[in-house]
């Protein structure tokens, strides 16, 4: 996991935005995929406690598997379940 770092652009939606305290963040990171990225973000934002198993992940405006490899400049959105009406 000691590969070269690259920039990843992250957007939080709904409850994740509230837990992280911001809508967007850009990270210089070496993580392999969104799953590992979320773990790294949880280290940065202690309030981010939402379980990763209940998240949807979008990568470059398409839903993606949390284990999909990330590349430089990717845009990742973490989307929690939303049900209010």
């Amino acid at each position: 996991m000691a590969g070269a770092t690259r920039q990843i652009h992250i957007r939080f939606f709904a409850i994740l935005r509230e837990q992280a305290g911001c809508s967007t963040v850009t990270l210089e990171t070496a993580v392999a995929n969104p799953l590992a990225l979320y773990a790294e973000l949880q280290g940065k934002f202690p309030g981010l406690t939402f379980p990763v198993a209940l998240l949807r992940v979008s990568c470059n405006e398409r839903y993606a598997d949390p284990a999909v490899p990330l590349a430089a400049g990717d845009r990742v959105v973490f989307i929690p379940p939303v049900a209010g009406g």
Partner: protein, 487 residues
């Protein structure tokens, strides 16, 4: 209580009947005979009621109003016979704790009477000429050159043909809350033919900042009923049905079958999955929205495009998503549900007009706090246990081909069998058209006889009388009587 009377109306005596120590308001309305109609002088009026149906409809309107405005007591009396200028033809009194419910209830009764009560009046003009005037027709009339939808039909993407499509469309809105209220209001404005509203809840004061169909007068009223009444006042050409219960596995298929589009305006994943699966099995497009505080999501699901809800949440149970996600009763920014609800109406109308574009393959994320919007592309998971095996899903639960509800569309009449007869109900004074099987609306014995012979489909000029008579015959135990959907 509703009464028909041939005697002059004594408003003092009627007011006294509504005396109640807990009622801080008595609101009354009196409809009187005036000396002119459509520019012509009038000397007197004769009122003729279709007794059986008038009493039934009158009582139905009164009891519906009392449920709509809990705690209010309604008395309504309608005259029959010959009336002179200035005489009272109808009297409505509402005793209620506060004025808001009184005014609203009084208004509701007179609007519904005008629309539904089978009472006809014959106008006498100076010189002895006389003609029948249809109260229903007056209330529901779409005058020639009606421009209610003109500015929408003027859009090249809509046009007269698109407006016709909307008029024949059936839309189901499940949940009449923050999303459902604005969605239903814009659908009603658009000229949708039939709208069904489903909600088992009642209006609460804490709903009012975002549930824009309701006012303080409706607090305590069943939401579906209150919303239906409000929408009918907005657009008289809309046929709106209310179902005062929540969506359940028992009623989901009956509600969804025969709809052209369904709107999910519920607030929990259990209902969302149930509605989604029912729509998927029956092949009905679904427009789903959900809101958390300032943010919302919008999804259009249509078989064969962009996967299904299970593709998004593989192996997840509705219960765990509800627990983890937003909770009902949480804080919510009113305009967020407003915007998302209106977007649902827009997507539904676009689906009906074939203007949906890429919407059925996207999730739209909307943030009202920072003003951002983002579209995320959905795709079907090849291994999805639900939509990749749709054939099995449909085969396991066969789709009902006949709608056993009260209403039937023209295209569905054939499915009722070769013996099915369509009968046009004429109002007094309405000419009988050649080549159309007609029966006077008041001729109940004849209608009973026809219903006994086989499936009977009733229609009339505005669809109000035919629906009321179909209901009356159903109440008498006739199973195969239907009301034709107006297009």
């Amino acid at each position: 209580m509703f009464e028909l009377t041939a005697q002059p109306i004594d408003s003092t005596a009627l007011s006294a009947r509504l005396a109640a120590p807990e009622a801080g308001a008595l609101t009354t309305f009196e409809g009187r005979v005036r000396n002119h109609h459509l520019g012509l002088p009038v000397t007197k009026l004769e009122y003729e009621a279709f007794d059986d149906l008038a009493r039934l409809e009158g009582e139905a309107i009164v009891s519906e109003t009392e449920r709509l405005y809990p705690g209010s007591k309604v008395l309504c009396v309608h005259r029959t016979g010959s009336l002179t200028i200035g005489e009272a033809a109808v009297w409505i009194g509402v005793a209620s704790a506060h004025r808001q419910a009184g005014f609203a209830a009084c208004r509701h009764v007179i609007e519904e009477l005008k629309l539904r009560l089978p009472v006809w009046k014959k106008e006498h003009h100076p010189g002895g000429a006389a003609e029948w005037v249809n109260c229903t027709a007056e209330a529901a009339a779409r005058p020639a050159g009606d421009d209610f939808h003109a500015r929408q039909a003027a859009l090249p993407e809509v046009g007269a043909a698109g407006q016709e499509k909307l008029a024949s469309a059936r839309v189901l809105v499940v949940g009449v809350g923050g999303l459902g209220c604005p969605a239903a209001l814009y659908l009603a404005g658009s000229g949708i033919g039939r709208l069904t509203l489903v909600d088992g809840g009642r209006v609460e004061r804490s709903n009012l900042h975002r549930q824009i169909l309701f006012t303080t007068a409706e607090i305590g009223a069943p939401k579906a009923l209150a919303a239906a009444a409000r929408l009918r006042r907005h657009n008289a050409s809309l046929q709106v049905t209310s179902q005062e219960s929540d969506l359940t596995p028992q009623n989901a298929r009956t509600l969804v079958a025969g709809q052209d589009v369904v709107l999910d305006c519920t607030d929990n994943f259990t209902s969302r999955f149930l509605l989604h699966d029912t729509c998927l099995a029956l092949g009905v497009p679904l427009v789903q929205a959900a809101v958390h505080r300032f943010e919302g999501t919008l999804d259009v699901f249509r078989s064969g495009a962009g996967g299904c809800l299970h593709c998004q949440w593989p192996d997840r149970q509705p219960g765990e998503l509800d627990t983890a996600g937003t909770c009902a009763g949480g804080p919510v920014f009113g305009p967020a549900v407003g915007v998302l609800g209106v977007m649902q109406a827009a997507e539904a109308i676009k689906l009906l007009l074939g203007l949906e574009g890429d919407a059925p393959r996207q999730t739209r994320l909307v943030n009202l706090l920072d003003g951002s919007q983002l579209s995320v592309e959905r795709s079907a998971r090849p291994d999805c246990p639900v939509c990749s095996r749709l054939d099995q899903l449909q085969a396991a639960r066969p789709v009902a081909v006949t709608d056993t509800g009260l209403f039937v569309a023209a295209a569905g009449v054939k499915a009722l069998g070769a013996a099915a007869q369509t009968i046009y109900l004429t109002e007094p004074g309405e000419p009988v058209q050649a080549g159309r099987e007609s029966v006077p609306a008041q001729d109940l014995p004849k209608l009973r006889e026809l219903a006994a012979a086989g499936p009977l489909v009733l229609t009339c000029r505005f669809g109000v009388r035919s629906a009321a008579l179909a209901r009356l015959l159903r109440a008498e135990g006739v199973a195969h009587v239907f009301a034709l959907t107006q297009t």
